[in-house]
Subunit: 378 residues, 2 copies
Amino acid sequence: MKIIKGTITSPQGFKANGFWAGVKRSGKPDLGLVFSQYPCTSAAMFTRNSVKAAPIQVCMKHIKKSDSCAVIANSGNANCFTGEYGFTYAQKMTEITAQALGVKTHQVLVMSTGIIGRPFPYDKIREAVPALVKGLSPAKGINFAKAIMTTDIKCKQVAVQIELGGKTVTFGGCAKGSGMIEPNMATMLACVTTDAAISPVLLKKALQRAVERSFNSISVDGCMSTNDMVAVLANARAGNAIINAEGDAFNAFCEAMDYVCLKLAKDIVLDGEGAERFFEIRVTGAKNERQAKEAAMKIANSNLVKTADYTDNPNWGRVAAAVGACGFGATEKTMRISFSVKKEFININVDMGLGQSAATVYSCDLTHGYIDINGRYN
Amino acid sequence: MKIIKGTITSPQGFKANGFWAGVKRSGKPDLGLVFSQYPCTSAAMFTRNSVKAAPIQVCMKHIKKSDSCAVIANSGNANCFTGEYGFTYAQKMTEITAQALGVKTHQVLVMSTGIIGRPFPYDKIREAVPALVKGLSPAKGINFAKAIMTTDIKCKQVAVQIELGGKTVTFGGCAKGSGMIEPNMATMLACVTTDAAISPVLLKKALQRAVERSFNSISVDGCMSTNDMVAVLANARAGNAIINAEGDAFNAFCEAMDYVCLKLAKDIVLDGEGAERFFEIRVTGAKNERQAKEAAMKIANSNLVKTADYTDNPNWGRVAAAVGACGFGATEKTMRISFSVKKEFININVDMGLGQSAATVYSCDLTHGYIDINGRYN
């Protein structure tokens, strides 16, 4: 696998665009589109929050045919708790985009992120869609990535290449997310593109696997959003023999998907609201993977662990208390805790001493910056 | 029920003491004792953290006979993750106190709170116990209350009186706790005394009921401690007919216990580390009480809810997202959310729209002060 400098338009046959359509007051980009003019196989995963924003509800219907070839996305307004109008507007966004692109409505996915419960400014988006489509270009992957940013400081993009049967297969990805990040893809949007040829069933499988180890293994503040979604489009332009069974080609595909998703997930944590330090939390010795992950997440979400001072004498008591709070039976006698601290990167390793299973999650510290961003001090 | 100005020595037959024994560097009180020279019925509840500090392990054995008549408590060191020595020292604390008081070792309970994982300074406590016992007085309830404080700003005490069959029955209580507070009595110590006569079974029942609605319904930072404990001693000096069946007398007893525990619990939240605002979160319309409480706690522990600005336009989207994250099926269509804000007191009311059950929990905001207290900024 080769890491390249690139965007969601690095894979063959993808175009993108993004600009300010007037949703955000700030004048920063707030509307983006990515499109493959060649037919795609697609897959997506959604927040498990029972409050699902309108765009999530629309996408859950559209993705059923696994042939999405476009994603329209806005930032600045989450289109959540916006009533029947919100749902109608999310549908209309896919309709007018599909018309302008010359594809079917169900082939367009829609993502929204931003404030919950504000009237959705559909008119501004409707007016902007013709120019959005007209300006599509293979050079504008970064415009899409910028259009989905909210409190993000850094634009999060990644691209890699693998060889499959003599063909070069490219993957591109971008993501937004900084606060309200927890498992189940909280306040996180990600879009992955590839020119690989792969069956819908295996594309879904590769996505689920990659998401579990990446976006579902990070936490900024333990809050789960109403709008999270990750989508992948695969347009088969690389010319590889279609991957329709597990084996070497599928494994290579998964390796690339895992890398893309984990890189974006780590970038989200590094860009966590107010984050100054990055935690990699490794729990071993659990009875099963679920326990390992739950314990690791309990540490990741402990405000005491997130505010502790690691410069001198790491406060492992707070880590032990977090693991103990899970109630899995780890005690003073079974547990081993170690730290390694290298500038702003902090590794917390816990052996629960109960079994053989392990999990790794990623988190960041809780700082004055987080409170400033989310609070009345703003 | 009459609320009186008082302490844990307000009920007849109780004495207390407290002073600085050298555990804390600061010179503030760090060792306390409460004692009834008359036989007691006792009950206690403990943290559900699987990492249990040494004093908790000792008390879990001692409470089995339900006849504790003394509680020795220190602050400044949690005696947790202190190995075999820690356990031995916790036992010895009860032994030497029992000897000095002329009671049996199992009749003494021991509480510790403070930093986890530091060698326990048993020698300082051993040297101080004779003076601690010698100085016991009905006037020194407040000394005990002060001796258990750590990052607490306010000394938390309460006393009430009820009439039972023409006899005046008094209750006193004190508590410590400010950070690391969550259900299951996280980093919270509380001691309740009463001169009522009541059977051990009903005393335990009244305590469990009161704790569930008070100490187990508060959250400062969602972290669960290794040392939490609440104990109640009842010495029958009021002369009421012993309460050994449910009925009017038991109900009156429970009402007083509920008040004492809820007052102390609310004081803990009001004294939350860095807290500037107090949340009362009421969830109704849940399918059952467990769901109602879990949803209320999810709101109480949401860093986004805890940092939101309530001065102008309350961010109910964050509340909705927290409830939705529980996965109980509440959606935009079923939920009703309302706020009432009166200076630093914020009521958050959520009707989940799923059923008939309700729960109330108490929490505080997350501020720069919390980060200063718990972090490297200190």
